[in-house]
Assembly symmetry: C2
Homo-oligomer: 437 residues x 2
């Protein structure tokens, strides 16, 4: 016998149970996106390498899956690669189709991406991203709507979360007022680790990254900010008074918290000055969502970018977006046992026949039942009843309609409840009523 | 400015209108699959090349997109390729997961596939397939259910079709009784062209493929069979009397037509002895569906295979399946103008505000409306009313709720019907009633 077949490492097959659960997540997210008028697009799995290269840093370039040319060009360097994220293809899409697009453009996209990362627990080489963005407007209503979407998605999924929020302009202002405007990235990379490594280690790293002791000292009040959001914003306003960009960041946060209050958002929201996020293209708000009841890191994140499409020759188009991490949401729902129970089986009833005539009879009933919207299977052969029953058991089908000569003669079926084991003789009308649609 | 970005040839971007239409097709098909208890699976975009190679003939091997290895292995020959169809990954899946699968296994799969074909009108390098199969049972109820699925899918889509049906055993029987049992493939390849090139050219091709004149003569009554299905089956029964496999094929067709009659299938079904289909793995029934009102070739096809999983070391597992061609169905629906009109816009109402206070007011109304399930957008800036209106126009949003100081004072909005141009002042209750959910 041939060797048992397998799939490439870091990739996955999804069976029916996983698919039902994944579809539940995607459908929930999609349903909320649509409530806000976001519209779906899809881009090809392959992009030209020229579109992808240099957009994810040196490390990212190495992680691109390249596609060998076909035909005569096979010997030449690859020209195509697999999508690495949904952001760069989205920027490419906006520039390429800018004549047809109605701005502000509200789009969402749910597709797999591929990265030649070393596979490990929770990290795959093929995984789905769910991105939602509005591009072509710098109004903070964009930020507000994304926050409302986060609130509604997690309310529907039943996951308690906290949304952490920050603003890159505030971070720039901080770098400015401590006298190290060119060190913003270094400062944010270091303070991003505050939660993980503590204040001592962060200070050590800041020195290592070229700040002097005085600058690190000046930073301490900011690392230690506490109190309500209003308290933090007030403290920052005086700390950043000398920085134009810093004050601009404070104003943005102020306006956004005003919108949040005006629309009575119920989500836990925390102003988190240690939130920087790795990607350097954010220019305004930065978001990250963490589940409160599971230790899993960020399950949604994003922010505002003022120049995403600039790399493709269309400057000055501001947008804001977030990405839901479907795999991590899946893990949280599994850990907290929050998947709806009815996802397990899509089939409501199986017909099991004793003979060929009974099978024909069952097929007729099945047809009539399906016309009412019920999901119905007919065991395809009039084989041993035990075998038919164990099929229903294995597939967790809740009801079996047994058809023998007696049932046919009475124009009925023997309905067995597979949970309670109870049986009763029912006619078609009764059966329709018993199976909720 | 940089060169305008593009995508690889033979691939496509799908904008919101195309996505809405594609989702309509996929959701319709999926809804019918689920009525019959078929369950969705997904497999990775990449498979090991060892899984793919040699499964599609020499030509197919050339059309596989190969993925360059990453890291240290980059210089070696590729080990992975992109999925070329859904059938081989399905066979691989069944063998790999056979311990967990409940047989008969009813699965469907809707995913893209990639082929390095020369792109041309209607032929793409990335396209979706929608496959449905039941594997692990040789009951003809499998064939019946696929026929019922074809009937229901096209009824829901509003496309009039004819299902052509044949049986590979009958074709084998024909080869046997004309004395050329080793020429079955040649005969089927030739007579498959009857519609296109006519009987003379088919006969010439048969001679070219090694049949003698007597054998070609014996074939003529079969090429000329006409009348009802029952007539054709009766005629065939006597022609094929000497061939065991031929009679087996007739019996199968007979049983299947009996099931079709017993379940009152309304579909146009034609027994078509010229139907062979390219793929050689079919061993029983063969199906092909053609649209009656569009010249586009086959829009759905499939058949029974007795040894699909044999290539991966699991012999003797019989299955039957069909594949819906989403791109061609899209073209037929477009040509016949059959897409539902309401797919155009998903947003029911846009709020347009005159100032910042009005914008806050609009955001509150929008929130309350969304809670009732309505899809709502708020123009993100209180900019010129004309600009906000043209956004609604361009997105074909049917209603705009205009908010100025007067409306706010009365706790109302000015509702504009974008089709008729009429305006009326409404309160929240009235608005909810006017927008159907």
């Amino acid at each position: 016998m041939a060797q048992k077949p397998s799939i490439p490492k870091g990739t996955r097959d999804f069976g029916q149970v996983e698919m039902a659960r994944r579809n539940y997540i995607f459908d929930t997210i999609k349903g909320v996106f649509q409530l806000y008028g976001f519209q779906q697009i899809e881009t090809p799995a392959m992009e030209n390498l020229s579109t992808l290269m240099g957009k994810y840093g040196e490390e990212g370039d190495k992680l691109l899956f390249r596609i060998q040319n076909s035909g005569e060009k096979a010997a030449l360097a690859p020209e195509k690669g697999l999508r690495y994220d949904l952001t760069v293809p989205f920027a490419r899409y906006v520039v390429q189709h800018r004549e047809e697009i109605v701005f502000p453009f509200k789009r969402f996209q749910i597709q797999p991406v591929w990265r030649a990362d070393r596979p490990q627990k929770g990290r795959y080489r093929e995984f789905y991203q769910c991105d939602v963005d509005v591009i072509g407007s710098d109004s903070l209503v964009g930020e507000l709507e994304l926050i409302q979407i986060v609130e509604e998605v997690y309310r529907r999924l039943g996951i308690r979360v906290c949304l952490h929020i920050n603003n890159r302009k505030v971070l720039a202002g901080i770098a400015e007022v401590i006298g190290a405007p060119d060190k913003m990235i270094d400062i944010t990379v270091a303070i991003d680790k505050l939660d993980k490594i503590g204040v001592e280690a962060v200070n050590a790293e800041l020195i290592e990254r070229g700040l002097n002791a005085e600058q690190v000292d000046k930073l301490q009040p900011i690392l230690n900010l506490s109190g309500s959001t209003a308290d933090k914003l007030n403290a920052l306003r005086s700390i950043l008074a000398a920085s134009e960009i810093g004050i601009q960041g404070i104003e943005e946060l102020d306006t956004l918290f005003g919108l949040i209050k005006a629309t009575d958002v119920q989500l836990n929201i925390e102003l988190d000055l240690c939130l920087a996020r790795g990607l350097n293209y954010y220019t305004g708000a930065i978001f990250e969502v963490k589940a409160l009841d599971a230790q899993i890191g960020s399950i949604t994140g994003g922010g505002r970018y003022d120049n995403l499409t600039g790399i493709f020759g269309l400057p000055d188009v501001s947008g804001v977006g977030i990405s839901f991490g479907a795999d991590r949401i899946y893990d949280v729902l599994t850990e907290l046992d929050l998947f709806p129970k009815e996802l397990q089986s899509t089939t409501q009833i199986l017909f099991a026949a004793f003979g060929t005539d009974e099978l024909h009879y069952a097929l007729q009933w099945a047809k009539a039942l399906r016309a009412t919207g019920r999901t119905v299977e007919v065991y395809p052969e009039p084989t041993k009843m035990k075998k038919q029953m164990s099929y229903a058991d294995a597939k967790q089908i809740p009801f079996v309609a047994i058809v023998g000569g007696d049932e046919m003669a009475q124009n009925k079926v023997m309905l067995k409840n597979m949970v309670s084991g109870e049986q009763e003789l029912v006619d078609f009308e009764e059966l329709v009523k018993l199976l909720n649609c």
